[in-house]
Amino acid sequence: MAETLTKNSTDKAKSNSSLYNKDTYLKWFEVMYRVRRFEEQALYAYSQQKIRGFCHVYIGQEAIAGGIATALRPEDKLVTAYRQHGVALARGLDSKSCMAELYGKATGVVKGKGGSMHFFSKEHNYFGGNGIVGAQIPIGAGIGLAEKYRGTDNLSMTMFGDGAARQGALYESFNMAMTWKLPVLFVVENNGYAMGTSVERTSNVHDLYKIGAAFDMPSEAIDGMRPESVHEGIERAAAHIRAGKGPYFLEIKTYRYKGHSVSDPGKYRSKDELQEYKDKDPIIITERNIIDNNIASLEEIDTIKNNIETEISAAMEFAENSPLPMASDLYNDNYVQKDYPFIMD
């Protein structure tokens, strides 16, 4: 029987800042700052109607992106939901092709075919943003099955929201993944709400990590507002999974500062609640931590910020100036078969 580790480690002693080297700290800062600026600019472009459709931003959840960037291996696989810009950037997708995708341009990461909810990059082992709540949970387990089948020690990081945790697909997938000891790191990004519905209103079980217990799956809750704790959580889980012991479940407690999507004013939660999280802003805290503990200088931080400003401006310009797809491209990529006979009447 698998060792069952079911605990809530959010209030464990804060890790000592000197545990990590300078590069790690700067990497966290860089990734989180990139995500924040990318999202702010995406919101601006949306207000200018350059970006259309649904657009769900990652602002507030950046520490998770930071932890992913340092704790996963490039060969590991990742699949997530539609709130995915930050996760994609953390995996190394470049801001230019992501921004161009939001603009619906031919140079976008999926040629303007997916928009905000559907970035994919085989090169980065990024299996996409999924628009159907919970659909990626079994898919992530299947990605894990393929890794086990091939005998690698890569894991499949399978991310979903607290709302998705109520879908039947989760329970079926947890059971099979656990029974077959698949190398899957299930991660619920618990930002407290699924659209306007709080976690408390969708179940009697408010501590989502406890769901794992029904399957004897090692499960724990971690603080998602600090890249350190996200990094450590993923590392602990990864060690377990790579040792061939099967899946692991992390509940990452986080918060989204903005509404569900651009069209949601988010009236269902209080200003105080939002402020409580903004006071723990992972980017501000990490920057302060770096400076206060002399991990790097103010100039070094400024250089990172300036580089990212330049990068994001360039991404906007690239998106703006890129060509739209051709109308006939609508027929591309529906079938692998090149001469597929579409109904054209």
Partner: protein, 328 residues
């Protein structure tokens, strides 16, 4: 007395009136209660009817659709709202394998008076998973009735009929047209299931459509009138059972037909109509029926793709000229 109200309001009036009339009617779905509906269709209903009858569900379509089926089998009359029909795909097992089959597999003992409702069809640049139409999917299944409507007057009357109907009904609206306005009387009325509506009489060609595409066709009909072409415009309103008689009678008059249907072409509503017309009105046809569908592809995100994918007035006019053998 009538007033001008939106599609969204007409649907809410239908549900509220039926809930006042019959205490066994209740509404459940994602965000229907405290949030007042993802598209504000159920605004204010929680305040009037309380938590017992306006129920927020978790995101669990298979589960709450099935809970609706069980409640319907056991004497209640649920209205199950799907945020969009794209998410109802998760619940197809309960709709197709259970709601549609309860009566027949119980040898007529159990009925399943339930309404599954929500928007169907594309709604701008929402990409592949959020842009699908489900009329032909659902209408393919015996045991289900299917209504697809955006006109506020008809939507209200048909939804009331659907709630009172003893059979399971799939009711399809439009995300983009919840704000569409129309005249709706203060007094109570019903619109019967299974009857198409002639929106405009004409003599040269019959255009058949439903849901959001009706608005596209209206523009085309006006344009055609300017060119001296008199088109008869039919709104199917109910997809199953289909009102073949109204279509045949119109064809007898105009001898030409164009079907405009946002579903994919293969085995869709348009295919059924074209088959039935050639079978039952062959001698009245002066030209092959032409259909206009969404492209035979998934709908990708970029505006360019949306434009290419959907029927529009220009394409409708072209199709009309094709059946009239007019060289554009």
């Amino acid at each position: 007395m009538s007033r001008i109200i939106t599609l969204r309001d007409s649907l809410r009036e239908a549900m509220s009136e039926e809930m006042r009339r019959d205490e066994n009617v209740f509404l459940m779905g994602e965000e229907v209660a405290q949030y007042n509906g993802a598209y504000k269709v159920s605004k204010g209903m929680l305040d009037e009817f309380g938590e017992k009858r306006v129920i927020d569900t978790p995101i669990a379509e298979l589960g709450f659709a099935g809970i609706g089926v069980g409640a319907a089998m056991n004497g209640l009359r649920p209205i199950v709202e799907f945020m969009t029909w794209n998410f109802a795909v998760l619940a197809f097992d309960q709709i197709v394998n259970n709601a549609a089959k309860t009566l027949t597999q119980s040898g007529g003992q159990f009925t399943c008076p339930i309404v599954f409702r929500g928007p169907s069809g594309s709604a701008g640049q929402l990409a592949q998973q959020h842009s699908q139409t489900f009329e032909s999917w659902m209408a393919n299944t015996p045991g289900l009735k299917v209504i697809s409507i955006v006109d506020p007057y008809d939507a209200k009357g048909l939804l009331k009929s659907a709630i009172r109907d003893e059979d399971p009904v799939c009711f399809m609206e439009s995300e983009m047209l919840y704000g569409l306005k129309g005249e709706v009387p203060e007094e109570e009325y019903l619109v019967p299931i299974g009857k198409a509506a002639i929106r405009k009489e004409g003599s040269d060609v019959t255009i058949v459509s439903f849901n959001k595409m009706m608005e596209v066709c209206k523009i085309a009909v006006d344009e055609l009138a300017k060119e001296g072409i008199s088109a008869e415009l039919i709104d199917l309103r109910t997809i199953r059972p289909l009102d073949y008689d109204t279509l045949i009678n119109s064809l007898k008059k105009t001898n030409r037909m164009v079907v405009v249907d946002e579903s994919w072409p293969f085995a869709g509503v348009s295919a059924e109509i074209a088959y039935a017309m050639q079978k039952h009105a062959f001698d009245y046809l002066d030209a092959p029926i032409v259909r206009l569908n969404a492209a035979d592809t998934s709908l990708s995100y970029s505006s360019v793709y949306v434009e290419e994918y959907l029927p529009n007035p220009t394409k409708v006019i072209k199709a009309v000229k094709e059946v009239m053998y007019i060289n554009a």
